[in-house]
């Protein structure tokens, strides 16, 4: 029997190991670069046959790391747009929109290269769709007016493509709920320490925000990510909860099977493997940038690379 989480589209279709994730991105990048190269070659030969030899075939193409930089930058910019209230139009937005939109954007680029669709184009569509999924339908005219140089068709014409690229999976398990669950659990374990728990909850929320810019959600469960955020916020506090949930001494297990050595090892192993996972999640979170501006120079360089390398077939002045 599967748990409810194991039956979610996130677990079934959007969960990877580190290695798988790397392979997926490498293959995606290879495919897109090869396509670009082929088109550049055709472009060059077409122009040559027209007597013009002046084709700047790009020497360097963006790497998977360049792709990651760009996608992360646009993911972070979703947060800026929401925080600045650009889209409110008098109504407050459901708080879940931000996380859903960021996940959509990241998922989109597990199936599309930035060379095929630039995140500048896809990001507003993800946000628009995330609104609907969170029961908040943006008025299209007000919505496009909030952005620079975006027309109705830039959203409505791409909405189907985005939905399809997301494999029509639009429910995203809410890590913020898992974090709230740990908040309650910690209070259970530590009834007297409410102030400290509340302080830790605030810090944990900032770690959660950062985790959204990482790959954590593709690899770990919401509950593991939430636990890590709390542990990063206050390790000792988290330890007390762990002592209650996974007690080490056999007595508090109420176990009568002390004769079995394996049995007494169990809680220790369970705890070790949990802490091991949490450490991995922490590494993933800490590899993410703090916000949209923190990798600015690298992002600019990557963007330039993408612009130069972009498939000539997408350029209207091209010979193709």
């Amino acid at each position: 029997m599967r748990t409810a989480y194991e039956a979610t589209s996130q677990r079934l279709r959007w969960t990877y190991s580190y290695e798988e994730l790397e392979t997926v991105r490498q293959e995606l990048s290879d495919r897109a670069v090869e396509q670009c190269r082929r088109n550049w070659d055709t472009e060059a030969s077409l122009l040559a046959s027209e007597g013009s030899a002046n084709v700047k075939v790009p020497k360097k193409f963006p790497s998977p790391e360049d792709e990651r930089l760009l996608v992360t930058f646009y993911a972070a910019s979703i947060r800026t747009i929401i925080a600045e209230g650009m889209l409110n139009n008098g109504r407050s937005l459901p708080s879940a929109i931000e996380g859903v939109a960021i996940t959509f954007l990241k998922r989109f680029y597990l199936r599309t290269s930035v060379l095929e669709w630039h995140p500048k184009v896809i990001m507003p569509v993800c946000l628009f769709l995330a609104g609907k999924v969170c029961n908040h339908v943006f008025d299209i005219d007000n919505y496009v007016a909030s952005f620079n140089k975006i027309k109705r068709d830039d959203i409505l014409g791409v909405e189907y493509l985005v939905l399809q690229t997301l494999r029509f999976d639009v429910i995203v398990p809410r890590i913020q709920d898992a974090l709230h669950g740990w908040f309650l659990k910690l209070q259970d374990a530590n009834p007297s320490g409410v102030n400290r728990i509340e302080a830790a909850y605030l810090v944990a929320q900032s770690h959660l925000k950062r985790s959204r810019l990482s790959d954590a959600e593709f690899i770990y469960t919401p509950s593991q990510i939430a636990a890590t955020c709390f542990r990063m916020a206050d390790a000792r506090l988290f330890q007390t909860a762990l002592d209650k949930l996974l007690p080490l001494d056999a007595e508090s297990q109420g176990g009568t099977e002390s004769n079995s050595g394996q049995q007494s090892l169990k809680p220790l192993l369970a705890r070790e493997s949990l802490l091991d996972i949490l450490q991995h999640v922490q590494n993933a979170i800490e590899s993410a940038p703090l916000d949209a501006s923190s990798e600015m120079d690298k992002v600019k360089a990557a963007d330039k690379l993408v612009k130069l390398a972009q498939d000539p077939a997408k350029n209207k002045s091209s010979a193709l």
């Binding site: 139009n89 008098g90 029961n135 008025d139 189907y160 399809q164 709920d177």
Partner: protein, 359 residues
């Protein structure tokens, strides 16, 4: 072509459309088959450009929940694809629905039959609720029946997830005759109880073979509920007078002696129905508890799905419910956005339009 384009093209090739079995402004429905397995399917094609703000939210909701929910008593979404700004949902093909079964007066229901339909509805609903999904439009017309007699909950166009504490939900949901009193009084924060009320009224409809509380308007609906079940007391339902749209409905009613109408379900069956129709939503029985109710343990046993009565008349294409093809009626919200609400039957309007769907 990105990866998704390729998959999408493959998906389109797999599903073959045959005949159109329903048409409307919101969607067309076709019968077809799966090239891979030969299985009969229904393709619901949502029309392009029908909505100002892009893909209709009902379609998004339907996809959103059906992609996650997989259960024998919930309609299966076999695939989804898009083509030139249109969206198609591939659903399992179902022969008929509970409304058609109820209305076919040549069929005789045995107590075990009613029990079987209720058990299947509750299993499907319990699954939805355990995944945090409110259906918000349960009615016989949305409980579809397969050729093997299995009942499946369909139409998630009004469904939504619970647990979102910071948002108020609309009270304009659930087709009127099946709508609980808390929604009629404008409650904006409700939960699983609303679906259970609908199930209770459907239970009675299965016995009476006609709608239990067919209100002509929202106000009339409240009146009918109170005339039959009695005016709720503060003790029965604490705080109900504080609901946003609370209005006092005329004189105090002590209710009618309605249980003799449904004695064929037995004393224990009546007890279960009363638990489903509790005024206080918090005291209303849950789908899971209902499944463990003595009613389902007592004889007669629920009839095996394959042996359940089914309409004998040959199936002919007929009009779909208006909300199925024309979209839910629009509901303007303060910010200029559009939400959809449940269509309510209009007994003085075009009766033919409320016919059942074919899938």
């Amino acid at each position: 072509m990105n990866l998704a384009d390729q998959e999408n093209a493959a998906a389109r090739a797999r599903w073959v459309k045959e005949t159109k079995i329903g048409e409307g402004t919101y969607a067309n429905v076709y019968r077809g088959y799966d090239v891979k397995t030969g299985q009969k399917i229904a393709i619901k094609k949502i029309k392009a450009g029908a909505f100002k703000d892009g893909i209709d939210i009902s379609a998004i909701r339907e996809i959103k929940f059906l992609r996650e929910l997989s259960h024998p008593n919930v309609i299966a979404l076999l695939g989804t694809y898009s083509k030139a700004q249109s969206l198609s949902l591939v659903l399992e093909y179902l022969d008929t629905d509970l409304e058609a079964v109820i209305k076919d007066k040549t069929l005789v229901f045995k107590p075990g039959d009613v029990k079987s339909w209720m058990a299947m509805s509750l299993r499907g609903l319990d699954f939805c609720h355990s995944r945090g999904v409110l259906h918000r439009d349960l009615k016989p017309n949305n409980l579809l029946i397969s050729s093997k007699g299995e009942l499946k909950i369909a139409d998630f166009g009004l469904a939504r997830e619970t647990g979102d504490v910071d948002s108020r939900m609309t009270c304009q949901v659930v087709t009127r005759w099946y709508r609980p009193p808390e929604l009629l009084w404008g409650s904006r924060s409700y939960s699983y109880g609303i679906d259970m009320w609908s199930i209770g009224t459907i239970f009675i409809e299965l016995v009476l073979r006609k709608p239990f509380l067919p209100g002509d308007s929202d106000m009339d609906q409240l009146k009918k509920i109170i005339t039959v079940l009695g005016t709720p007391t503060e003790e029965e339902w604490p705080g109900h007078k504080l609901l946003p749209d609370y209005v006092n409905i005329g004189e105090e009613s002590r209710g009618q002696r309605w249980t003799p109408w449904i004695m064929s379900v037995g004393k224990v069956g009546v007890e279960l129905i009363k638990e489903m129709l509790r005024y206080d939503p918090l005291k209303r029985i849950s789908a899971k508890s209902a499944l463990y109710h003595q009613f389902f343990l007592d004889d007669p046993r629920p009839t095996a799905p394959i042996k359940l009565p089914k309409p004998t008349a040959e199936l002919v294409p007929r009009a779909m419910a208006p909300d199925e093809t024309e979209g839910k009626p629009e509901l303007k919200t303060a910010g200029g956005g559009v939400k959809r609400k449940a269509e309510s039957p209009d007994p003085f309007g075009d009766v033919k339009k409320v016919a059942r769907r074919l899938f």
